[in-house]
């Protein structure tokens, strides 16, 4: 409940503040979004599994974003930024998909 409220507050804050993203950080924004979604789905699944841990949630979110951005940054420097961001999206996408399937199993028992 409090998580949903906080999510809504974050959305509203983002809409109201409309922060301008520095152009240097622009390529990492989509990656950050994927990492954030992964953290959310992981947290939801952990909660349904009964092993949710707030510390793990926050740390995994932050580290996911940072590591994903770092990988893409490194790839950009080495000339394989596009491929590496694809790799990050694939890995995180698989995780999101698996977590969503687990959540579905929990909720609908199907």
């Amino acid at each position: 409940m409090i998580a949903v409220l906080a999510l809504i507050v974050g959305v509203v804050a983002g809409l109201l503040l409309k922060p301008t993203v520095p152009t240097a950080l622009e390529p990492y924004l989509p990656i950050a979004v994927i990492a954030a979604l992964d953290a959310v789905f992981g947290g939801a699944r952990a909660r349904l599994d009964g092993i949710f841990d707030s510390k793990v949630f926050v740390v995994s979110f932050v580290s996911n974003v940072v590591v994903a951005a770092l990988i893409v940054f490194l790839g950009d420097k080495l000339g394989v930024g596009g491929q590496l961001s694809t790799a990050v999206v694939v890995v995180l996408g698989i995780r999101i998909f698996g977590n969503a399937a687990a959540i579905r199993r929990h909720l609908f028992h199907a």
Binding site: V33, K55, F57
Partner: protein, 309 residues
Amino acid sequence: MTSPGRRSLNTAELLLAELVTNTLDPGYAAAARRREQRGAESSPHPPRWHDHVAIVVGCLLVGFVVVIAYVHQNRAAPDTATVHDALVQRVQQVQASTDQVAAQERALAANVESLRNAALGSDGGLSAELQQQELLAGTVAAKGPGLQVSLSDPVAPTPAQTAGRKGTVPVGAVQVLTDADIRSVVNQLWSDGAEAISVNDVRLTPTSAIRLAGEAVLVDFQPIASPYVIRAIGNANSLDTAFASSSIASRYQTLQGVSGISFTFSEQTSVTLPGSSSVMPRYAQASSSTTPTSTPSSSSTPSSTGGTR
């Protein structure tokens, strides 16, 4: 995957299987295990003060990041549209102001002319001479019989037009005509005895240039577009016959059949050409101070009027 299944997986396959099957962050399981080790006898969920704070902060961040990305992504597209619109608007604005200034300039020139005519009114000879010079320089509107030549690009490369063999018509060649075509027609008209020429209502002066910039033909730095109408004043009959028999005309008649341009020319009983804004020569000076206007080659009469006084 044929017989034993599990054991035949090598490292890479294990990695992939791990990726697909263990989608949950291993941190959760580890934390749960730690909790169990710490105290299985205590309550299963010991409320810690930072639990709620961490969840709130995390969810706040997630929502924030997602919305920023969304807003950013959707703002970029309208931004480019806005920039484009602004540029178009600016170009239109500047064009309008150019037109306005040109109109103002024409009005002022007319004013100057009337004032000058009033001043020169007593001496008819001088005024007539001035008018002739202005006509030659193309600074005043001119009227008279002449010829009108129209050239225009093919409308659209429709498949029906490609009646001939494949390859005879360049597909997608919408812009066939360039500055060279306009120039050759204009040159032909001059050599046929035209006294004044305008291209799409831009009067040609002794300093006019017809060039190509990007995809636009520029006449005296004014862009003109496809239906090119070239009007010339002169002896309508001789202009017509001379132009019709010229190689230029036959070339464009051929091109008309081949590449689908439209090319027509017709004798006109009365053509009105606009005046061009006068260009004052800043560097060129008459080589002798009192050169008679009738003879541009000043070397012919060196003795009588030569020398600076």
